[in-house]
Symmetry: C2
Subunit: 244 residues, 2 copies
């Protein structure tokens, strides 16, 4: 490919674009984060909105993240991750590994949807402040039932590997799924510090996975850089009243 990848995502938050960025950063792959460029250089939200409005031929995307790879423009987080991992050696090439990785990635993204809906259970068109009682109720169910269910599942996946396997989610092997899992664990620690603190003793393998992944050389450099947007808005938000 002659041109670097172009990633289109809402600027200012890590959001779902971060799942894509982590693969690009961990592999040291060149990319342009288009909406973070100034509008005068073809960037900004205007560039993203143009793409969503269908300013290019071919299949339009409904929502970001969107990846432009030469002539190919694709959307949907799990789809972009699957594509990049296949091309850049972040998933083993055998067929079973690929379908299992995609299964795990989609399960992580199901959790992400539920994390998002704790602060927006009624409508994405209204602010959190307009749906606080409902958010409190949804967050209670999330913290009590759904969060332990999802994280307990991933801990169980890690525990099921034989002792001589490595320590990644995908049959003990490192893959892009571990990058995504690490990001979600970091986001949960920001959004739900009390709930995650209470769960921590039950998740020793996930905590090890997070610590080990965050030490990967290129990834650690990225996490320290100003390319990594801070948590604060978007999916992972810290409202103390939801962290029960």
């Amino acid at each position: 490919m002659n041109q670097p990848y172009q990633l289109y995502y809402w600027p200012g938050i890590p959001g779902r674009g971060e799942f894509v960025r982590l693969i690009l950063e961990d592999t040291g792959t060149d990319y342009v984060d288009v909406a973070r460029l100034p509008e005068g250089e073809g960037g900004g939200v205007a560039a993203l909105e143009g793409l969503l409005a269908g300013d290019r031929p071919g299949l339009p995307p409904l929502a970001p993240p969107i990846l432009v790879a030469g002539d190919l423009t694709i959307a949907q987080t799990a789809n972009i991750c699957f594509y990049l991992a296949t091309r850049h050696d972040r998933v083993p090439p055998d067929e079973a590994s690929r379908w299992h990785a995609n299964q795990l990635q989609l399960t992580i993204l199901d959790l992400v949807d539920e994390i998002h809906d704790t602060h927006h259970p009624m409508s994405v068109a209204e602010a959190y402040e307009a749906q606080r009682p409902e958010a409190a109720r949804r967050a209670r169910a999330f913290v009590a039932l759904r969060l332990p269910k999802f994280l307990g599942y991933f801990e169980r996946v890690l525990a099921a590997h034989s002792a001589d396997a490595g320590e990644g989610l995908l049959d003990g092997r490192f893959s892009y799924v571990d990058l995504s899992m690490t990001y979600v664990l970091q986001g949960l620690a920001f959004a739900f510090p009390a709930a995650m603190g209470a769960l921590a003793p039950k998740l020793p393998r996930l905590r090890q996975l997070e610590a080990r992944t965050a030490r990967r050389r290129k990834l650690a450099a990225y996490l320290e850089s100003d390319r990594r947007a801070a948590f604060g808005d978007g999916i992972f938000r810290h409202y103390p009243e939801l962290d029960v």
Copy 2:
């Protein structure tokens, strides 16, 4: 493959298992719908729950649908559909078509998540009757904003094809995505007849796609058979008070 596929899904509802069934039925592929067998024959919910409890080696699934294909066991609806469509000629073999099909399929499944949450916006662990006011509010936002946004998007995808293209969502070509879209349109007509009636004039291409797909020979035979579970519970539920 010597053994037929085994599909594991909650018996009694079409649910997310239906996306998988439609590909198997449209291609005339042999499969066993395990949880619909009697428990005495290794079926029932017990068989499904055993699989979820990790009674087999390898990567456990978190939730159904689950497909067993020889030595491979995979979960996540979009993942299973992608796998089956690739193997059974329900997606063109070129790379762009496959990533675009998966993009569309994931967008359809995002819509399905939002349909589900209209009747369960607070917690999947509580009955609809325990969250009726919240469901009414979420359904209002869904009908007013989200449903037109999603269906308007798919109508736009169809409208973007050149006049001499075919009429499938994937660049005019028939694919498994059309099977999934047809199922969702049928489910929406059941769950939200008033809202869908009001939207119908704006969705001529989608309505044509649904009618044409439902006439496919093997699919039509399946839809008339007793293998097709009736709508009523699960994702697509008809509560008149939510259909505004």
